[in-house]
């Protein structure tokens, strides 16, 4: 009954404040958001302070100077970037044609591909690397076969291909999700049929029609995979390679400040990458598509004339 008597009051109050129906005071929301901001910003601020504050000596930028002088940092970061780019390239080369063909021609396989791409979520990286390291330990038994050379190439210190392969497996869920979203958003069948009936070859259709239309999805999958690879520690550490995050841990054993500075750098890189993603996949792309549409109509007019 109390609820019923309260009703008319709310009903009459609502039209008087058209801006805020029902949610009359967002103080609670603001408080929650402020607390959350505190929890997320304090560690960043404290870490930044940690890197420049030398107890007893005051402010120094020694950690950053050391990081710039340290050859290990450049080498490991370079390795991480190369691994990341190779992973993205391999992942996209595998996934884009597969997803496109499955959507167009083999819808029965869609479920299979989805499950296969999601399986790495069930297999934690540490379990995956346990299996991989066992497979790599077969190397000695294969010394007499041609496969031995392959194994040698797999764990070449300068560019460990095995990491690219494992990272590609680990990035499949990201790639699948973003490509699936992208493919649902465009009418692929019509696009491909139009392109084919205008005489474009299949690879031409894929490169010049399908890929540009999937660009936001491709960019988002690529950036998420890249961010994952740049921060990855478990697999590289167990297999004995030294990309950026492993170097960070090794250097932390004797240079705490330097490793925290490296951690902040890695946060900065992640932030930059994701910023790039929102800019590339967001507004600008839409504009560009509009431009391209305009160009396309222009071209068509020219060809018919």
């Amino acid at each position: 009954m109390a609820g019923m008597t309260a009703t008319p009051r709310t009903r009459t109050a609502t039209p008087r404040q058209p801006g805020r129906p029902l949610r009359s005071r967002p103080y609670g929301s603001v408080l929650v958001l402020l607390l959350a901001a505190l929890y997320f910003l304090v560690p960043v601020a404290a870490s930044l302070w940690f890197t420049v504050d030398d107890p007893g000596k005051g402010l120094t930028f020694g950690a950053y100077a050391k990081g710039l002088r340290d050859g290990g940092m450049a080498t490991s970061l370079g390795l991480s970037v190369r691994l990341g780019l190779a992973t993205v390239a391999l992942g996209l080369l595998l996934m884009v044609p597969t997803m496109v063909v499955v959507t167009l021609r083999l819808p029965k396989l869609r479920r299979v591909v989805e499950v296969l791409c999601m399986v790495p979520l069930i297999m934690p990286p540490i379990a995956l690397v346990a299996g991989v390291s066992t497979v790599l330990s077969w190397e000695d038994d294969l010394r007499t076969t041609p496969l031995w050379g392959t194994f040698q190439a797999l764990h070449d210190k300068n560019f460990p291909l095995v990491l690219v392969l494992v990272y590609t497996v680990m990035s499949l869920p990201f790639l699948y999700r973003s490509l699936d979203g992208g493919l649902r958003a465009v009418d692929l069948k019509t696009l491909v049929e139009a392109s084919r009936s205008l005489g474009a070859s299949r690879p031409g259709t894929l490169c010049r029609v399908v890929v540009p239309n999937l660009r936001p999805a491709i960019v988002s999958g690529a950036v998420l995979s890249l961010a994952m690879v740049l921060g990855e520690f478990t697999v590289a550490n167990v297999l004995g390679f030294e990309p950026f995050s492993v170097w960070m841990v090794h250097v932390g054993e004797y240079e705490a400040q330097l490793s925290v500075a490296a951690a902040m750098l890695s946060l900065l890189i992640t932030w930059g990458l994701l910023l790039l993603l929102t800019n590339l996949a967001g507004g600008r792309n839409r504009n560009r598509n509009r431009d391209r549409d305009r160009n396309r109509t222009g071209n068509r007019r020219r060809t018919t004339v």
Partner: protein, 315 residues
């Protein structure tokens, strides 16, 4: 132009031919229909399946197979046995598995609740610029895990951390290198992940439902108890499962922050793999990995039927 003109002509001819003679096909027609389609189908899909078979199937099968074999160190022969699995489920390894499950459960529940509350607060604040900023920040922090996260927390709350010194936390007995410290650190990337995951579902709770409930005389609490939460429940549970999986699989943060002081299965596997143990231990690591996969599988299996239910309401 040269390429486009013959194509319509050919398809026109094919259409004209179709009714009287469906089976005897000209070469051109075969290329345009079945044969071409088949050629375009498989080569694009084969690399993916081959890649999965070699790079995922092979390690996974090796894992499952070797977990059940024991290598005799003296003779080098191996035989089928359940010893590894039994060993991996007893003593210190059982403690590690239980510790991992406990840590993941606690942080998953906390992350689900906090992420939802923050998400709802974000919608409640009703500011689109703020929303955009929080979403992009969540994206960054959700990806900020592993070794860098561990260092950020060590610099903040470690023994010589900035906040530890500032607030004299040492005298209160607080230590980052404990179970609590790990939960605190895990939440740092799990809560943003939950915010990003749950926001679409929270958006799906329509204002009309709220207004309908209010005009029927329901209070805010009653609305959430009888309408909001039941509708969100599948998404919340799905999010919780995702959180559990993320926490359960994560290794680097704990390894860098606490070393082996908090018993966790991921750290035990890494220790068993990294060589400074006996020969047979490698298969023990595989058995432990298998336990992890089984647990992850069981938890993830909950999510599949839930997803379907939530799609019905919030799709």
């Amino acid at each position: 132009m040269a390429a486009t003109t013959p194509a319509p002509a050919r398809s026109g001819a094919a259409d004209a031919e179709q009714p009287p003679a469906p089976s005897p096909t000209t070469p051109a027609k075969r290329r345009a229909r079945g044969g071409g389609a088949r050629r375009w189908r498989w080569p694009a899909v084969v690399p993916f399946f081959a890649f999965m078979a070699v790079c995922f199937g092979l390690p996974a099968c090796t894992l499952a197979y070797n977990a059940f074999t024991v290598v005799d160190p003296s003779t080098g022969t191996s035989h089928y046995s359940l010893d590894n699995v039994r060993h991996s489920l007893s003593g210190a390894y059982a403690t590690g598995l239980a510790g991992s499950v406990k840590l993941s459960l606690l942080s998953a529940v906390l992350a689900t609740v906090l992420g939802t509350v923050i998400g709802q607060a974000l919608l409640g604040a009703g500011n689109s610029a703020l929303r955009k900023a929080v979403i992009s920040a969540s994206g960054v922090f959700a990806n900020f895990s592993g070794a860098p996260l561990a260092f950020a927390f060590i610099a903040t709350l470690g023994t010589t951390g900035t906040v530890t010194r500032l607030l004299h936390l040492k005298s209160t007995g607080f230590s980052l290198y404990t179970f609590t410290g790990l939960v605190l650190a895990y939440l740092y990337f799990m809560v943003p992940l939950m915010v990003v995951t749950i926001l679409p579902a929270l958006d799906g709770v329509r204002t009309q439902w709220r207004e309908a409930a209010a005009s029927c005389g329901a209070t805010k609490a009653q609305f959430w108890r009888h309408v909001g939460l039941p509708v969100l429940m599948p998404s919340l549970l799905g999010g919780a499962v995702l959180m559990f999986g993320t926490a359960f699989a994560s290794h680097a943060t704990a390894a860098v922050m606490t070393g082996s002081s908090v018993p966790l299965i991921t750290i035990q596997i890494a220790n068993a793999l990294s060589g400074n143990v006996l020969v047979g231990q490698e298969n023990l690591a595989l058995a432990m990995s298998l336990n992890m996969v089984v647990i992850a599988l069981l938890v993830m299996a909950v999510q599949i039927p839930l997803q379907r239910r939530s799609n019905r309401w919030l799709g």
